[in-house]
């Protein structure tokens, strides 16, 4: 997770996260597909205007999710409750009501993804953790533990690749997937545990105690523009709900 140099990237991460989660809660209360669509479009526009999304980026990231939301729509339409039957085949049963509900839920999911992407594509991970310490009063012990842990995401991936190659070189052929799961997951986990222990000792050896009385290289604050963004976004969303609902 890296930040770009857009307006959204300059906002306080926690403040941004809570604003987006609030928008999500509002989305949950809406059962009208049209309003949901407008709120989703609002998210896309915020991304383009304030989040520095390029059209190519938009296509690359949102189109796969669009496919997913079509599947969600299908699930709700085919397995949902309704009276007026449109189409029936085997265990699929499509009705007018289920189509409306399907649209709402699919667009809502798309909204969740878009507002999530608005956050992840414009937030620097270190700053986010720092803001959790300063604004959300997360204990430094957990915050730095999280930072150390997140560094492991690429490490796990490269280790898995290495292990697969090593097995291949030695002529191992995956016969059943259950055995393969245990074969790869146990070394992955046990390596992770060993490294966790070493990291913890290294941190303590350098005088890290995890207490709140410490100094920080980077600090984060909530300033006027954070409040302005939060209020403006929420006001626009609520206005959309009022006008159409």
């Amino acid at each position: 997770m890296k930040a770009n140099d857009s307006f959204l990237a300059s906002l306080n991460p926690s403040c941004k996260l809570f604003t987006h989660i609030f928008v999500m809660f509002l989305l949950m209360t809406i059962s009208n597909p049209k309003v949901t669509l407008f709120i989703w479009i609002l998210g896309v526009f915020v991304g383009i205007l304030l989040g520095g999304w390029r059209i190519s980026y938009l296509f690359k990231r949102l189109v796969p999710y669009l496919g997913f939301s079509i599947l969600v729509f299908w699930m709700m339409a085919a397995f949902g409750e309704g009276e007026t039957t449109i189409w029936k085949w085997a265990w699929f049963h499509v009705t007018e009501e289920s189509i409306t509900n399907g649209l709402t839920v699919a667009l809502r999911m798309l909204g969740f993804v878009t507002y999530g992407l608005l956050f992840t594509s414009t937030t620097d991970l270190t700053l986010f953790i720092m803001s959790l310490i300063h604004q959300c009063k997360l204990s430094p012990k957990w915050a730095y533990g999280l930072l150390a842990g997140f560094r492991f995401i690429p490490l796990f991936q490269s280790e898995l690749r290495q292990m697969k190659t090593a097995h291949k070189v030695r002529g191992y052929k995956q016969k059943n997937s259950w055995k393969a799961f245990m074969r790869y997951s146990i070394p992955l986990f046990s390596q992770g545990i060993r490294k966790a222990e070493r990291i913890a000792i290294a941190m303590e050896a350098r005088g890290f105690t995890g207490t709140k009385e410490r100094t920080y290289y980077q600090t984060t604050q909530v300033v006027t523009k954070d409040w302005a963004y939060a209020f403006l976004l929420l006001i626009v969303v609520i206005a959309l709900m009022m006008v159409e609902g």
Binding site: M24, E81, M109, G116, G149, R194, I199
Partner: protein, 198 residues
């Protein structure tokens, strides 16, 4: 009960590993769910709650199950889940569910039963979230209850039971000697040893 630094890092790193698994599992889940619907795809649910039983079983502290699930869900969000912010919130719900199972026994019992209960309760709370956010209430009553039942069973087996199998296999490799799980096993072993000597 204070968390030691190495327990904190261990919990986070195991959650990260689980989060990476969750992400892969989410990708697998999509095509299956479209074909067989929520009932059929529900059997895959259990993997998404495996972080709680694994971490709670090793560390055995209040809050371990909740923290593990939330951290794993956060990793799924940060690495680009197609559930978006939803992945994080459902993690909070499932985490509360698994935590309840251990809290019911006052964080004293960590056996197959409590681990499977924790997976099952995570399934229940997961459905509660889906009811609120993903319109599970729109499904026909039959479909809804079948989904609930399958989530509970899947959570208990793929979450609780599989979590125990993985941790027991890890314990055999000897990497867990310094953690609560092996300390308690050794204590139990000493008592048994004394009895047999007597």
């Amino acid at each position: 009960m204070k968390w030691k630094m190495k327990e904190v890092v261990l919990a986070v790193i195991l959650s990260v590993a689980c989060g990476v698994i969750y992400l892969g599992w989410s990708t697998l889940w999509i095509p299956i769910s479209a074909l067989v619907g929520p009932v059929g795809a529900g059997f895959m649910f259990g993997i998404w709650v495996i972080a709680s039983p694994i971490v709670a079983y090793i560390i055995r502290k209040p809050g371990a199950a909740f923290i593990a699930e939330v951290a794993a869900a956060a990793v799924e969000l940060l690495t680009g889940s197609h559930f978006g912010l939803s992945a994080l919130l459902v993690g909070v719900f499932q985490g509360i569910g698994s935590e309840i199972a251990f809290a019911l026994f006052r964080y004293k019992r960590y056996n197959l039963f409590t681990l499977m209960l924790s997976g099952a309760l995570a399934g229940v709370l997961g459905i509660v979230y889906n009811l609120v956010a993903n319109g599970f209430g729109y499904y026909t009553t039959g479909v809804f209850f079948a989904t609930l039942a399958i989530h509970i069973i899947s959570g208990a087996i793929l979450g609780g039971w599989l979590g125990k199998v993985v941790v027991d296999a890890l314990a055999k490799t000897g990497v867990l000697e310094q953690y609560e799980i092996m300390k308690q096993t050794r204590k139990k072993g000493e008592i048994n040893g004394n009895i047999s000597r007597m």
